[in-house]
Amino acid sequence: MLRKDEMPEAEGVEGRAGTMFSRADYEMSRRREGASVRQNESETQVAVRVAGLSKAYGDLRALDGVSFEVPMRRVFAYLGPNGAGKTTTINILCGLLERDGGEVSILGRDVAADPVLVKSRIGVVTENSNLYPELHCRRNLEYTGELYGLSADRRRSRAESLLNDFGLMDKAGAPFGTLSRGMKRRLTIAAALMHEPEILFLDEPTTGLDVPSARSLRDLIRRIVGGGATVFLTTHNLFEAEELADEIVVLIGGRIVERGKVSDIKRRIGGARCLTVSFSQSVSGGDVLGVCPAIRNAELQDGALKFEASDLHDAIAQLVAFCNKENIRMNDIGIREPSLEDAFVSLLAGAGKSDGKDRP
């Protein structure tokens, strides 16, 4: 928006080169400048921009018009069942695979046009911890630094600092092949951070890890984002995505079927909230369903009845009315929000149905 004092008073004003142009031209020019500035600002706020991405392997369409944006300094989870096209997307984003169509911009650059520059600004942790088994941990990190063009001093200091940060200092001289699975995972992530990438791609980071290792890795991912990096996460672990991700995209059959903030998706797709009620005397699910229309489903679970409520307020009111009428007391009542897993399962079920409809 132009401020009033910035506007030329006259209908025709003289430009810098001495050419005359109209107020409309002037305003158009200012709008263009503004748009350009906004575009640059938006470029700096968007880490990854994908538009209409498509890829086919023969007759199989692995990606079909996929579009999304990943904001800077966020954890972005890219979810989907096996074969959904997640790895194909990551491989295209990281320059390992050519796309058939669409646009991909990583930090404002096209990886296909400028692969070396883009790769120097991203870090990639593949599903397997793939450092060199015969090299010791410090050497693995320093070698990675060499590949990214870090100076010898910088390599040494970064390796030292990452070994320290990732709790691997006492293993600095141990060959990578001798480490535990959790340590290998941590060192692989450390190697991806050697050159301080602006975007870190993490493919199934906690697969195969025990609970403490997975938890410590999640803390680590939070610290990485806290340090200013953007994390692009693919995982099958929906609890992990729910814990870490600011935004998620769900991909099924090469198409995006849902996107947004975790809380929004859970609310939108997760379906009914669950009520778990234990009564003072035996009650069958059928008794309750008959008189409580706000309750969709009932099942006995660990001595209590678990209900799916389409409307929580109405369900509780109807349950209370039922109890009063039958002179039954509610000993305990618990409410559970739908999880991301519930939402994901709903999406998969929905996709299955729509697939079924599409097929002859």
């Binding site: 320059g95 390992l96 695979l97 593949t126 060199y132 070698y143 063009g149």
Partner: protein, 243 residues
């Protein structure tokens, strides 16, 4: 220069990880040394006929095998993917991998030649041409190994693929029968073999004579073949990387 430094880093790492291992060095030396010794025991002067060919054969087998094994192994372990994900041009990766394999072949061949000179009095008329033969030959053979490595998945497949052309080359390239003594109908086939030209350059280095009109003939032929395998390896790696 930046990419060259990264290629050298890849080579250094490979030498450290694979080529510097004592069993490998020993194997690379023992196999040709025993072969030459076997001929030497039978005919003390006759070993000179086969020495250049066996040195060239050592280069061929050492370089193609090691280049192919290293890449195939790294493809399987996922470490090769690290290179593809790093900010490296495809030429940088090829150069880095080929340099280490070539260094291994050159080092073992030089040690073998020095050993033969010290123990069996191997002559060395033109050391410069001898070294040039080793250099160009090892580069061509390393690149051939790299090309084979991206065409297969397993190490044994790489070996099978390479043996398909390596063993016939032994009989077609003047390793056991010098090029000059080959039947006329075989010579055009031998001409197409990179092993023939590497062997002839090494032969010229040792004896100061060649079966060709000029020592520049095998040099020029080797350089043309080097250029061809450079292009081929570049195309193969690009194709592999975008699979």
């Amino acid at each position: 220069m930046i990419q060259l430094a990264r290629a050298l880093a890849i080579s250094r790492k490979d030498v450290e990880s694979y080529y510097g291992k004592p069993p490998l060095v020993t194997w690379g030396l023992l196999f040709p040394a025993v072969l030459i010794l076997a001929v030497y025991i039978k005919d003390r002067a006759g070993y000179l006929d086969v020495a250049p060919g066996i040195i060239a054969m050592t280069l061929l087998f050492g370089n193609t095998s090691m280049a192919a094994i290293v890449i195939t192994f790294e493809k399987r372990s996922g470490t090769f993917e690290r290179l593809l994900l790093s900010p490296l041009g495809m030429g940088t990766i090829i150069l880095g991998k080929a340099l280490s394999a070539a260094a291994y072949g050159i080092a073992t061949s030089i040690v073998l030649a020095v050993g033969l000179k010290a123990c069996m009095g191997l002559p060395m008329a033109r050391p410069d041409v001898f070294i040039a033969g080793l250099l160009i030959g090892s580069c061509v053979f390393s690149l051939l190994g790299l090309i084979a490595s991206v065409m297969v998945k397993e190490v044994f497949e790489a070996m099978t693929l390479m043996n398909f052309f390596r063993f016939p080359l032994l009989f077609l390239s003047g390793v056991f029968v010098p090029f000059a003594q080959m039947p006329g109908w075989l010579k055009p086939v031998a001409w197409l073999s990179p092993l023939t030209h590497a062997g002839e350059m090494i032969r010229f280095g040792i004896f100061g004579e060649t079966a060709f009109a000029s020592p520049w003939v095998p040099v020029a032929a080797s350089l043309i073949m080097f250029a061809a395998v450079c292009v081929l390896s570049g195309l193969s790696f690009q194709r592999y990387a975008r699979r």
